[in-house]
């Protein structure tokens, strides 16, 4: 090949790079490894990473069963190793599957259009808010304190340089958005209200009442859904103007936080302000049905600095996982799956309530609940760890006002045995905490 090009050495190919910058040494990276060594390396890391633990963690990353055909199908090289479907004639597989994804997301959310995916639930929420700000022409944003705290942080980052002042609206006794506080927070400058339902505590918001308040003031309501399985049994927030979803629950591994699958869904009339790729149906020159990427005039490669977002690469393969999951469970299965989540969580809340206080009982919840204990949740969790169990997420990190409360999650994979064992361990801590307290009191006496 060098001869064909007319060169003597590979080095000549790099002549355009000024000599003083060329690297004359080896990179200091691990030495070349055989495939067997690479596999060993990651198996070892896996063993150091919670392998074999039973977990009660949710909080934006959920452990649901992943039907095996998801990986069989997404491992096909034609899906795995294809690029963005710009060349429609040889990308119909990807395009049609995205069209089906968009259609099912619309069915589940009650919205009219959905995009091909966003990076994740947090960035989808931030971009949905920016979309609402463009649509209303008002820059202020009210955000629920019961929104995932990391989503709130991401929104704050995105909003900083957009001149979008953020106001936080708190939650009431039942864990839902405090409507009185909301009334006070929303003004004539508010372009968007961002809430989550089920919210960060697993509590289902009164979306209709919230939407009424938002709309009364001319603001758009953006609803974030972090636990997609809830859509099987919880009425979707149909009153919302934009829904920003995290679809990880639909067949995507928790993978230590990513890659996940965000998606934005909205009303048809708002579609031209929606960020992200869209697949549309059309016909080819012979009149045959086919699919293409469409409404690209919203996007960066056409509009550059006037685009609705800078997003280019999205989460296509993860959206395919989600698509297959939705197809497997379908109309009946998703409902049954959601019911199992509801039942396990109701059982766990009942058991745990014997040894602590389940907060926010006044409102319906899906598969998470906050449990307040007299003992520090970190102490409880360290006892559970000894039994290869990961307890609920201590909430004080994000909500100091909730003291010793922690957030527990049950899914269809959580067994009754695990719940009973955890309840026993909490009880143990309760009694030990009581005895410690008694001892302290005794000493005081």
């Amino acid at each position: 090949m060098l001869k064909a090009i007319g060169l003597r050495s590979v080095d000549e190919l790099f002549a355009p790079i000024p000599a003083e910058y060329r690297l004359s040494r080896d990179l200091k990276v691990p030495r070349q490894m055989a495939e067997s060594e690479i596999v060993d390396y990651f198996r070892q890391r896996s063993r150091e990473n919670g392998e074999g633990y039973t977990s009660f963690l949710g909080a934006g990353a959920y452990s649901h069963y992943r039907p095996v055909i998801i990986d069989s199908l997404i491992s096909r090289g034609e899906f795995l190793t294809a690029y963005t479907p710009y060349q429609a004639e040889i990308s119909q597989g990807t395009l049609q599957s995205i069209f089906e994804f968009q259609s099912m997301i619309c069915e589940l959310t009650g919205m009219e259009v959905a995009n091909a995916s966003m990076y994740d639930g947090s960035t989808a929420a931030a971009e949905a808010v920016m979309m609402a700000v463009r649509l209303t022409g008002r820059r202020s944003v009210v955000v629920a304190r019961s929104l995932h705290p990391e989503y709130r942080e991401v929104l704050a980052t995105y909003a900083t340089h957009q001149g979008m002042p953020l106001t936080v609206a708190g939650f009431g006794e039942d864990g839902r958005l405090d409507l009185e506080e909301l009334e006070k927070s929303i003004t004539a400058e508010t372009g968007a209200l961002l809430i989550q339902s089920p919210n960060f505590f697993g509590t289902i918001e009164d979306v209709a009442a919230i939407a009424e308040i938002a709309h009364k003031h001319g603001a758009m309501l953006v609803v974030s859904i972090a636990e997609a399985v809830s859509l099987g049994i919880v009425e979707p927030p149909r009153e919302a103007d934009v829904i920003a979803m995290e679809a990880q629950s639909f067949g995507v591994p928790m993978g230590f936080g990513g890659p996940y699958c965000g998606v934005i869904a909205t009303r048809e009339k708002f579609v031209r302000q929606m960020p992200g790729r869209l697949v549309g149906q059309t016909t080819d020159k012979h009149g045959k049905r086919g699919f293409v990427l469409t409404l690209a005039t919203r996007e960066q490669h056409i509009r550059r600095e006037k685009a609705t977002s800078n997003i280019c690469t999205n989460q296509a393969l993860i959206a395919l996982m989600v698509n297959i999951f939705m197809t497997v469970y379908g109309k009946v299965g998703l409902k049954e799956l959601a019911k199992h989540n509801l039942a396990k969580t109701a059982y766990a809340a009942g058991q745990f309530a014997k040894h602590g206080k389940v907060l926010f009982g006044g409102a319906p919840r899906f598969n998470e609940f906050a449990l307040e204990t007299s003992e520090d949740p970190y102490a409880i969790n360290s006892r559970l760890l000894g039994h290869k169990m990961v307890g609920g997420l201590p909430l004080k990190k994000f909500y100091p006002e909730l003291g010793n409360a922690s957030l527990w999650c049950c899914t269809e994979l959580t067994t009754r045995t695990a719940i009973d064992t955890a309840a026993g361990l909490i009880a143990e801590s309760e009694s030990s905490a009581r005895s410690t307290k008694e001892e302290v009191e005794e000493v005081a006496r």
């Binding site: 030495r31 896996s46 150091e48 004639e89 230590f256 109309k331």
Partner: protein, 496 residues
């Protein structure tokens, strides 16, 4: 037919409707275990929040699902089927060991909030990959949080802004060459910077005189792709950096074309202050039909205080943990820690290559691009004769005389069994054909490609209509994009 394609032939390609069209009540592909806790009364638990109906969600059997997606998959072209010479996209082989290790239980199923004590494996992966990427780029620190290249650009510019703000003046604009990717100006807008275009010179490089004239205290940074989108290395890169630095500006490098540099030259050594990488390009993680990507941002020491939170730190007891308390941070750009599964794959790629392999990868990528350039020079117009690195940009100037444009040639290439190159980009080349073979292609595959491109050029002379009507061998041909955009049909509806 005179022009035969040696690579592709027709094969059986099954028809397949939409999944909704296969659905009928009672079919199912799922089975839940018996419930081991008491059943609940959903109406009582949820009240008015209970959902009664899931609309038109499908009901299908498992074999139908397998066939549905398998049939659709056969309508896609993929790297696994052959050369995918999309310029600036670095469509290299996606090693299967990467997929295997990403699915090991503790790695695939780790919860982002599980205690650090039982997250040491994941933390070690984050740390090791960070160290490798810092070494490869010659930078001082890195964040792995951004989910894709454009997200990395945003993160990088947020840090640029924070840096300038810490000096008392956020500045007003970003300079962007006319050859840049569309994400660059779109990102600048998201970080509320104005965009100012910078012209390229006659060799396709940054016009140094223009840069010197446009550079002032209002410019926060120059966003530069190097090698640029013409596949040309900016030979005056250090002069560019000096001009920026002299007026307090920063040099941002878009690392889309890093596959031309790894192991041979390091951006940190030629004056770059901040840059993003695309793990889904340079580091072999699969494109998956459009994502997921991963866009780590590497920076010089001066920008370190502004990194997104959290960062991975070594703790006094020797274990690893996350550090959240960073008052000057630009904040979070994504929930959790980024596209972790992509970090696993990228690290496996680095391990499979080692220092020698990474260097050779770059050499082969550049060698391959130059081999194609030599093979097609004369047949297609080469608008810039400046030496090519990992990609080469031709134009359709010669073929346009017969009314055939770059998109037509691209569509005809499909009939020859190849994915098209990147068309009509960069914008500074009218009718561009942007070709990037990557190191993955053998001489045999590239010879087939060169033969196909030459054959198409002959067809343009003898029978341009064949090219204008292409592709001829696909399920669908020349889809009506105008109709799709004018009256958008973005979802299936019953009866549609």
């Amino acid at each position: 037919m005179k022009h035969m394609t040696r690579k592709a032939t027709r094969h059986v390609n099954q028809n397949e409707g939409l999944i909704f069209e296969k659905s009928s009540p009672g079919k199912a592909a799922w089975k839940l275990p018996p419930l081991d806790v008491p059943e609940v009364n959903t109406s009582k638990l949820l009240g008015s929040s209970e959902r009664k109906d899931l609309g038109n969600m499908p009901e299908v059997s498992e074999i139908e699902i397998i066939r549905h997606f398998t049939r659709m998959s056969t309508w896609n072209y993929a790297i696994d089927l052959g050369m995918y010479p999309l310029g600036s996209c670095t469509m290299k082989y996606n090693p299967r060991v990467n997929e295997a290790v990403a699915r090991v239980e503790g790695i695939a199923n780790g919860h982002p909030y599980q205690p650090e004590k039982i997250s040491q494996g994941a933390l070690q992966i984050l740390k090791t990959l960070s160290e490798c990427l810092i070494e490869i780029t010659g930078m001082d620190a890195i964040t792995l949080q951004p989910a894709a290249g454009a997200h990395g650009e945003m993160t990088g510019l947020l840090m640029v802004r924070a840096y300038h703000e810490s000096k008392g003046n956020a500045r007003k604009k970003i300079l962007i060459p006319d050859s840049a990717h569309g994400t660059n100006p779109a990102t600048a807008a998201m970080v509320n910077y104005a965009v100012e275009n910078l012209k390229s010179d006659s060799r396709g490089m940054v016009d140094i005189t223009a840069l010197a004239a446009q550079m002032n205290e209002d410019v926060a940074a120059l966003m530069l792709t190097n090698p640029n989108t013409l596949g040309v290395f900016e030979q005056q890169i250090h002069k560019i950096a000096d001009i920026l630095h002299a007026k307090g500006g920063l040099l941002y490098m878009d690392g889309a074309n890093m596959n031309a540099l790894v192991g041979k030259v390091r951006p940190g050594d030629f004056g770059v202050d901040v840059m993003h990488l695309n793990l889904h390009k340079t580091f072999s993680t699969p494109h998956g039909g459009g994502g997921p990507g991963s866009g780590p941002v590497a920076i010089k020491k001066t920008l370190e205080p502004f990194l997104p939170t959290p960062i991975v730190v070594s703790k006094p007891d020797g274990t690893l943990g996350f550090e959240y308390n960073r008052p000057q941070s630009v904040g979070r750009v994504r929930a959790f820690y980024g596209n972790f599964g992509m970090f696993v794959r990228a690290l496996a790629y680095i391990q499979a290559n080692g220092p020698d392999g990474l260097r050779q990868t770059t050499e082969d990528a550049v060698l391959n691009a130059n081999y194609i350039r030599k093979g097609l020079e004369g047949t297609y117009d080469l608008p810039y004769s400046t030496p090519s690195m990992h990609e080469v940009v031709f134009s359709d100037k010669l073929q346009a005389k017969k009314g055939v444009r770059t998109m037509d040639i691209a569509k005809r290439l499909i009939d020859y069994g190849f994915h098209p190159y990147t068309t009509a980009f960069p914008l500074i080349v009218p009718g561009a054909l942007m070709i990037e073979p990557t190191e993955s292609e053998s001489k045999e595959e590239m010879d087939l490609f060169i033969e196909a491109m030459k054959s198409i050029a002959e067809e343009v002379e003898e029978d341009p209509q064949t090219v204008l009507d292409a592709p001829h061998s696909t399920r669908v041909s020349r889809l009506d994009e105008t109709a799709a955009a004018r009256k958008p049909v973005l979802r299936w509806k019953p009866g549609s």
